[in-house]
Symmetry: C2
Subunit: 538 residues, 2 copies
Amino acid sequence: MSTELQQPTGATVDAPKMRVAKPKAPKEPQFTLKTPKGTKDWSDKDMVIREAIFETISKVFKRHGGVTIDTPVFERREILSGKYGEDSKLIYNLEDQGGELTSLRYDLTVPFARFVAMNGIQNIKRYHIAKVYRRDQPAMTKGRMREFYQCDFDIAGTYDSMVPDAEILSIAVEGLTSVGITDFKVKVNHRKILDGLFEVCGVQLDDVRRVSSAVDKLDKASWEDVKKEMMVEKNQPEDVVDRIGKYVLLKGSFRETLDVLKADEVLLSNESAAAGIKEMETAAAYLESFGIIDYLSFDLSLARGLDYYTGLIYEAVTSASAPPPKAEGDEKLSSKDKKKKKKEQGLDEDDNSENVGVGSILAGGRYDKLVGMFAGDKKKNSSIPCVGVSFGIERIFSLVKARAGIMDKVRPTSTQVYIMAFGGGKEWNGFLPERMTVAKKLWEAGIEAEFLYKAKPKPRQQFDAADKAGCPLAVILGQEEFLKGEVKVKELGLGEESDEGINVKLEDLTAYLKEKLNEKNGGGATEEIIRLLTSSEI
Amino acid sequence: MSTELQQPTGATVDAPKMRVAKPKAPKEPQFTLKTPKGTKDWSDKDMVIREAIFETISKVFKRHGGVTIDTPVFERREILSGKYGEDSKLIYNLEDQGGELTSLRYDLTVPFARFVAMNGIQNIKRYHIAKVYRRDQPAMTKGRMREFYQCDFDIAGTYDSMVPDAEILSIAVEGLTSVGITDFKVKVNHRKILDGLFEVCGVQLDDVRRVSSAVDKLDKASWEDVKKEMMVEKNQPEDVVDRIGKYVLLKGSFRETLDVLKADEVLLSNESAAAGIKEMETAAAYLESFGIIDYLSFDLSLARGLDYYTGLIYEAVTSASAPPPKAEGDEKLSSKDKKKKKKEQGLDEDDNSENVGVGSILAGGRYDKLVGMFAGDKKKNSSIPCVGVSFGIERIFSLVKARAGIMDKVRPTSTQVYIMAFGGGKEWNGFLPERMTVAKKLWEAGIEAEFLYKAKPKPRQQFDAADKAGCPLAVILGQEEFLKGEVKVKELGLGEESDEGINVKLEDLTAYLKEKLNEKNGGGATEEIIRLLTSSEI
């Protein structure tokens, strides 16, 4: 049976609401039928596209020797605390479960570090695609939800410098191109270089993270605004800020930017900066071997929010994810009008997001101390160094879904064959048990098949159902042919040039259908949609 | 790089614990590194097997025209309340999130009904494989966890009687056989027949559910014990209980049991029972068309706990899931000794489960009123009738994993080729960038490949790493051959009959490897493990 999702659940639309009044049952509470704030259902074609993206990126991960793990959706609260800085307030707590305090996971990185430490693992390449939870203000237009998927690949272990880092960047590039995203740039930087340049510019050690977070805004704000923030809010002297400006506005191709840094005697005199520059020099050769260096842009303003990074940091943006210009006239709307407009667009009235594109589509970096925080050994070196990438899967989904034509080509079910019965008159029994037997034969042969759950169905009903499922083939049990052990196979969806069909003996049916389907879509609906992801047609 | 999971996370073993003392950092709390009670990490071969089971059963679901949906892991609390009877106390609540009360989902059925009602869906076949949460006393040996997967297929919509019910039973049978489980019985019964027989036996309407739950224990308890419970705890007169006994001890093949019921004038005089018997008669023909009737056993003692069933109910058991005899001597152990023994077996000391096998491996039934509880319309008929199946995926996993030999044949990674460099002397540079270029070439061709993250690796290290990954092939960059544009391809894991290898030109490498891999495992590691599931070898 085909699905009848009357209300498509799109990525940028809030979950539909429906007030249910129950006047005849006063004991039952009136309630609002909706999903919790910042969450939504996924279904229909959205779900098919998302699953295809997961499968495609998983294949990339497996190609690089990744294994997958599955950790509980909630962790003991002490595992998460002290890992996310200011954002810790966004952690979802569960009610006390008999003395055990637990919280929903905030990301997949901290549970991974806990897993590595707990099991005494020395090295692992693991991927994990799962939901994480942040009690943030939802902003549907930006794809910011309270429940959303992360899609991570991390390499843990002690290796020669920058080798896993370069492979992680290669995985980032391959992951995006595997789903047909090619117009992106990966901005890269290095925490040791950043720390060193703040030091040589005269920033006090205690101020580094605060200054760093101001610098990180340079992708959205002008230098003047950032300078003001550093002077006014972060209390930095103007000469310090100007020296910082000289560095953080530096960006360009990986090799050229590296050359500028290598020529900077002041920076090289700083131990941290010199170490960072040397690592980036090492990386450059590997990035060339992987053929991905042209995707990268060395950008000294990239700082990344999370505390735990210790080396390479990066994030990828596409032109599609850059902030679009504001819609004309929006500024003139009153607050009330804006709320009304949001409501018309299907958004929460309290969704205070502006329409600023999808943001970065992946990000990551090296974090060498996190596992050590759990392993808790005395020797500094006992921590397991890690480097990882996290794909912004909901944002990637939005980009894929926005491609012209893709929604027309994707179909929600995998059904390949609709089994029908034609006939009429009082004598006709509708061949229901016979349709079941034929269906079973097809299922056993691995062919996706459906039939109408009706004893005596009309031809129209059956064609409509096949049409909704987007079925390419029909098998028809005709009143006379079937008694001779034959069925008619008919191609569907041909529009004007309707197919007359061909009679096939029952014993040859599955072989015939498999050949026919292989001609039509080369294996099946899943393969079809995965091919669609990188197809040049759309 | 291969994984080094020193502590395998088995299905029947509690998550390992590790006390971490931090004497030098008094400000940080001492904490226990473990997962929350009743939860565990999945990894390594367990994860590979579980993923293969999910993929195999998903394929069965897609074959039947199923679409998949994804609902939030938590729901508004009012959605869940009043749906699970006594078990509502097992629901996990989240802390109040600014006035919104939410709870982790208890199953996938209620969220599905909420989804159907909220979107005004008239008919859908949906499957959903996801985690659910029950604050139960964990019993690892029984596979009873607080966080576990469910794997559901449901058909919603108004159709001709028993047609979707028969297809659901066919999906149940196909799902189990698809993962190589064939020695099972599906016990079936019908709520209308049960309700009718209690009525004709003289049970008061208000007592039906309580009496029913006593009857449901007949698979584990003797009739004498159940009779006692009905008389003492449920206050039923002895003549009523004896009349019930006459019926609920009845079980056997579908057709034979049906014939007994059809000959029972008393039962047929009851409207509810007569309706149920008629539906089972209708189903019989369809079950024969699907060729699955011999898997079924009509069992009048099957009652199923959940309140919401209204028609067909069923559950599948295997001989492997029947209670094993108690280990000798266990009775004699003191409570303290029992705790010690559990600890030795890696179990929670407070795990009070007995070792009683894995229980039913799937279950389900018809529930025609649940969507209506959400849709809340006045007309009775406006509810959407549903029938579904839920696979007990963790139990199925235990059965698959217990098969002799399977753990030796499964490998954690999909890696097919290990890229190595051989050489030596001062001049030798280890070919690291060159190994990277070759790896990239293979990745681009879709071949899973790894190399050692080391500039100058020793042959032994590289073979060890390939061995851990279970790689079938090695590509070797030899000092001299590589400068001539050639590499050596060598088969691994041949033991005594070591392969000498064959020289291949770089430009022919991917084509050669693909052919070779196709010979060896017919497509890849994933395909290999999925074939293993139903292989007769294990």
